[in-house]
């Protein structure tokens, strides 16, 4: 087993990111202490394929009570790889999102937009032997939030991945191409490097689009790679 390369802080936002107000009281104020990556960080949880049940990867079906969910049906495909381009098989991908109207099922979401009785908005899937994952869902709507006057979150899907080790843990958000709200969204913009934050935007794919059924988007995810030399202990 080898250790993971350090987190590339140039690809991530800082803990305290003034454009996103909640970070001011919630981000650690001191720099994290560098430690040598060891056994703990090099290992990580594995999930059995049975962790994912039959409809977990289909958000258009897994929350149905009396019909089909409203909104634009989409299919999201992606490859999970590391920074050396190695595909990451058997990675659990958990997803959650707002419905087509921009409303979350979550009890604390007070946005004045309708819930959809046929859409919960959460699910999960696993990557296959080549690192590929896919799930069906409804394109989420934009929603307002309290960060500043007239603040709206761009359309986005939340994703959570463990990767091959605890150190490679990643929680992120997938955005949609051409969304005019992106250039106004501090959560997106606080990743300072414009090249890095482009990686958060999925690509429309006519090849992945299913004839007469669902628009296709491709969202590849890159996790930290491993160091070339194995660890000593």
């Amino acid at each position: 087993m080898s250790t993971f390369k350090p987190r590339d802080w140039g690809s991530h936002a800082p803990f305290i990111a003034p454009g996103y107000k909640s970070t001011l009281l919630r981000g650690p104020s001191r720099l994290p202490l560098a430690i040598k990556s060891g056994l703990t960080e090099g290992t990580g949880p594995r999930f059995a394929p049975a962790s994912v049940r039959k409809l977990d990867f289909d958000l258009t079906k897994n929350g149905v009570t009396n019909g089909e969910p409203l909104g634009e049906r989409i299919v999201v495909h992606g490859k999970v790889m590391d920074t050396d381009g190695r595909p990451q098989p058997n990675i659990l991908v958990e997803v959650w999102q707002a419905n087509a109207a921009g409303r979350y099922v979550h009890k604390v979401d007070q946005h004045n937009a309708p819930l959809d009785p046929n859409f919960r908005g959460s699910g999960r899937c696993m990557t296959d032997a080549d690192g590929n994952y896919m799930f069906y869902t409804i394109k989420p709507g934009a929603y307002p939030w309290g960060n500043h006057f007239n603040a709206w979150r761009p359309n986005h899907i939340h994703l959570s991945l463990f990767g091959p080790g605890f150190a490679t843990r990643l929680v992120t958000q997938m955005y949609f191409p051409g969304d005019p709200l992106l250039e106004l969204d501090p959560i997106f913009l606080e990743t300072q490097d414009p090249v890095a934050r482009e990686r958060l935007i999925s690509k429309f794919s006519i090849e992945k689009t299913e004839e007469g059924f669902a628009l296709g988007y491709q969202f590849d995810i890159v996790l930290r790679g491993r160091n070339a030399t194995p660890m000593e202990d």
């Binding site: 803990f15 919630r26 202490l33 290992t43 920074t83 979401d109």
Partner: protein
């Protein structure tokens, strides 16, 4: 060919019906929950619990904490483990929104030592709205003073901040609890690691 990392983004305020659905009472299953070790797992059964405080010293009611630890023999569960059948999974996840005092809790066993020169500890990740990047920390155990004094990583932490990583042992009527709070900022700010 090398690729750039996908940036981290905040878990936001609405993760519960996706990541901790059963804990919060939503109609969806959890693949990870606060039970790190079932009743049949070897070792001393403990509960680890605490609160998360923001820069105003207010408890955070929408944080999500994850832990990853070795079993009582110091071995990490590297194969897929169903906690219900074999007892020890090593991984736990808990949101702070279901307890009246916004505590997280984990039902687990005290980990063994994973390497020479290391004290027993639990690896921890803190997620919440207001964090664009998650933070790593560790929980050590107050009753392991001798091993703590020899732990390379704990000793690399400035002496006046080491206490932020040490959980206090409390015997309760229901069993042994280790209590540790996470402070995001301030004088008692928890030591976070660049793992």
């Amino acid at each position: 060919m090398s690729y750039g990392e996908t940036p981290s983004q905040t878990v936001g305020p609405y993760f519960a019906y996706g990541l901790t659905a059963q804990q919060y009472g939503y109609d969806f299953t959890d693949v990870v929950d606060p039970v790190v070790a079932g009743p049949d797992a070897d070792g001393e059964h403990i509960r680890i619990t605490g609160q998360v405080f923001d820069g105003n010293n207010d408890p955070v009611n929408d944080a999500m904490i994850e832990i990853w630890q070795a079993d009582a023999n110091g071995t990490y569960a590297e194969n897929p483990v169903d906690v219900a059948s074999t007892g020890f999974r090593g991984l736990g996840r808990c949101g702070t929104g279901t307890d009246a005092q916004n505590r997280f809790y984990f039902d687990t066993v005290k980990p063994g030592v994973v390497a020479d020169g290391a004290a027993p500890f639990v690896n921890v990740i803190v997620f919440m709205r207001g964090m664009l990047v998650h933070a790593f920390t560790r929980f050590y155990f107050a009753d392991e003073a001798e091993l703590n004094a020899r732990d390379d990583i704990l000793q690399s932490v400035p002496a006046d901040r080491r206490d932020t990583l040490i959980a206090k042992r409390v015997e309760t009527r229901t069993g042994v609890e280790y209590r540790i709070d996470i402070h995001m900022q301030g004088d008692a700010e928890t030591v976070f690691f660049d793992v």
